[in-house]
């Protein structure tokens, strides 16, 4: 029995990644190895992974979406994972990439929040501070060649101002009125830009929700590592709220009309 899931369900010659399973196309080396060659293991590839996170600015604040799947290679391993996480009273952090690294980040931020609350100095961490902290942490870890293998979206609302920004395993940061990580950057980002750019101060909460739901639906149709169960976070002057998990309406009746490839004979 081969215990390494990245080897499962693959053609025998899979040096060629015919199914484009990137970013988890690498097979582990199962042969003999020198026990002491590297005493310390570092993250060289993500193992249990989350896919895209989407976020947009709208009239009252910021809205984010992520599905509940954590994949183990191509196996849909954990189907009730929260990838949107509240930090303090003003911020939500959404993660794609390695889920164990994300849980470590949650732990670090929890420690940080406790320290800040304990200080009782009248200061509270907002999204700007959390993003700066995360970008310094991610850049420091990449500089030690020991990265936290995530792309993070940090959204928030504090002192009447919206905030939305990105940071990844290299420490690269940027902000824009629409952001998407992972496959969402290829598939959902163009849709989000078309719907949002230049209309950030007009879009209502209902419209923002519809924009994100439509994009999540497209991702579910096209991203093989996604799932039809997701959550939406809204951050506005009313504070942070992360929804319960939702299902999307999808239609598959068109599938039987597809011709030209697959199993059908005519």
């Amino acid at each position: 029995m081969d215990h390494f899931p990245t080897n499962w369900g693959r053609p025998r010659n899979d040096a060629f990644d015919a199914y484009a399973t990137y970013p988890i196309h690498q097979r582990p080396y199962n042969g003999p190895k020198d026990t002491f060659a590297d005493g310390v293991q570092r993250t060289q590839q993500p193992i249990v992974t989350g896919t895209s996170v989407l976020a947009i600015k709208y009239k009252d604040g910021v809205m984010m979406a992520a599905d509940n799947l954590a994949s183990y290679g191509s196996l849909a391993r954990f189907k009730d994972v929260q990838r949107l996480h509240q930090v303090g009273n003003y911020t939500v952090i959404g993660a794609g990439g390695d889920m164990s690294d994300f849980q470590y980040i949650q732990y670090i931020l929890e420690e940080l929040s406790i320290d800040e609350i304990s200080a009782q100095d009248g200061h509270e961490l907002g999204p700007i501070e959390i993003h700066e902290y995360m970008s310094q942490l991610m850049y420091a870890r990449r500089s030690k060649m020991n990265p936290l293998w995530n792309s993070l979206l940090i959204g928030g609302f504090k002192d009447g101002k919206r905030f939305l920004s990105y940071v990844d395993l290299l420490g690269t940061t940027y902000s824009a009125s629409t952001l998407a990580t992972g496959y969402g950057a290829f598939i959902a980002q163009p849709l989000l830009r078309k719907a949002v750019e230049g209309r950030e101060d007009v879009i209502t909460e209902e419209e923002a929700r519809k924009i994100l739901e439509d994009s999540m639906r497209v991702l579910f149709y096209r991203d093989a590592r996604s799932m039809n169960k997701f959550q939406i976070a809204t951050i506005s002057s009313a504070g942070v709220s992360i929804s319960d998990s939702m299902q999307l309406e999808t239609a598959w009746s068109f599938a039987e009309n597809i011709r030209g490839y697959g199993a059908q004979t005519q």
């Binding site: 196309h25 824009a176 990580t181």
Partner: protein, 255 residues
């Protein structure tokens, strides 16, 4: 995230974490007799994806020094942050801004200190020297530097630098009989060259576009000479000596 191409997956490979990426964009600086112009586009990209349409690459360091950074954005931001920190310490110690040529040497030492894990960043420093002349210093990622009259760096360097060689240094141009090429161009001409450089680079290079940010540092006593009403111009600071710093923001094509 970069889409893998099938060629690179065709053979099994030893893969290591790569701590660098390339974030596109182009920067450019031109020195005049008593001014300096430092410009950069505002697009940040990775592969074929535009990450954002506005991520500044040009930063005000002091009232007479401006630094443009291009290459790996995370390294660039960290480097600018550290340079600003060193300049603040200098200010606390000496109660004055660090002179431009000293900033240039500081940047060289800071870059070379990381010779064996370099900041993957091309730097161009522009501003006004202590003698009032406009200056441009350009650096490679490990700190080699020189003072020049003009320099382009980044994704469209190979498009822009030859244009500058022709228009600023008059390379391959014969002066008309009985005349000679000017050694310094007027501000108005320089600004036109900068704007044309970026609109052209935007047309021919996919990593250039979205927005243009041009910083203009003027020597003491020098005015804008009729350029006051140019579109998108905004004054940032005036020093006690009368050196002035402006920024000009323009749109570039977003496709």
């Amino acid at each position: 995230m970069i889409m893998p191409d099938m060629d690179s997956l065709a053979h099994p490979q030893e893969r290591r974490f790569n701590p660098y990426t390339e974030n596109g964009g182009t920067i450019l600086a031109i020195a005049g007799a008593d001014f300096s112009v430092i410009a950069g586009d505002t697009r940040q990209s990775e592969g074929y994806s535009i990450q954002t349409r506005y991520a500044p690459k040009v930063f005000r360091l002091t009232d007479r020094a401006v630094l443009a950074v291009n290459g790996f954005a995370a390294d660039g931001n960290m480097f600018v942050k550290k340079v600003k920190q060193r300049l603040e310490w200098y200010h606390h110690a000496h109660a004055k801004d660090m002179p431009l040529r000293a900033i240039a040497r500081l940047i060289q030492t800071m870059l070379y200190a990381r010779r064996f894990f370099p900041y993957y960043v091309y730097n161009i420093l522009g501003g006004i020297e202590e003698d009032g002349t406009g200056a441009v210093y350009s650096f490679d990622p490990v700190g080699s530097y020189e003072r020049e009259a003009c320099r382009a760096a980044g994704a469209a360097q190979s498009l822009v630098q030859p244009f500058l060689d022709n228009q600023i240094y008059f390379k391959n141009q014969e002066a008309a009989q009985g005349t000679s090429h000017p050694s310094h161009l007027p501000l108005e001409t320089v600004l036109s060259i900068v704007i044309d450089s970026f609109t052209s680079a935007t047309e021919r290079h996919i990593e250039v576009g979205d927005g243009l940010e041009i910083f203009i540092a003027l020597s003491k006593g020098r005015t804008l000479q009729g350029m006051e009403s140019i579109r998108g111009l905004q004054e940032l600071t005036v020093t006690e000596d009368g050196e002035r710093l402006f920024v000009m923001r323009r749109d570039l094509k977003k496709d």
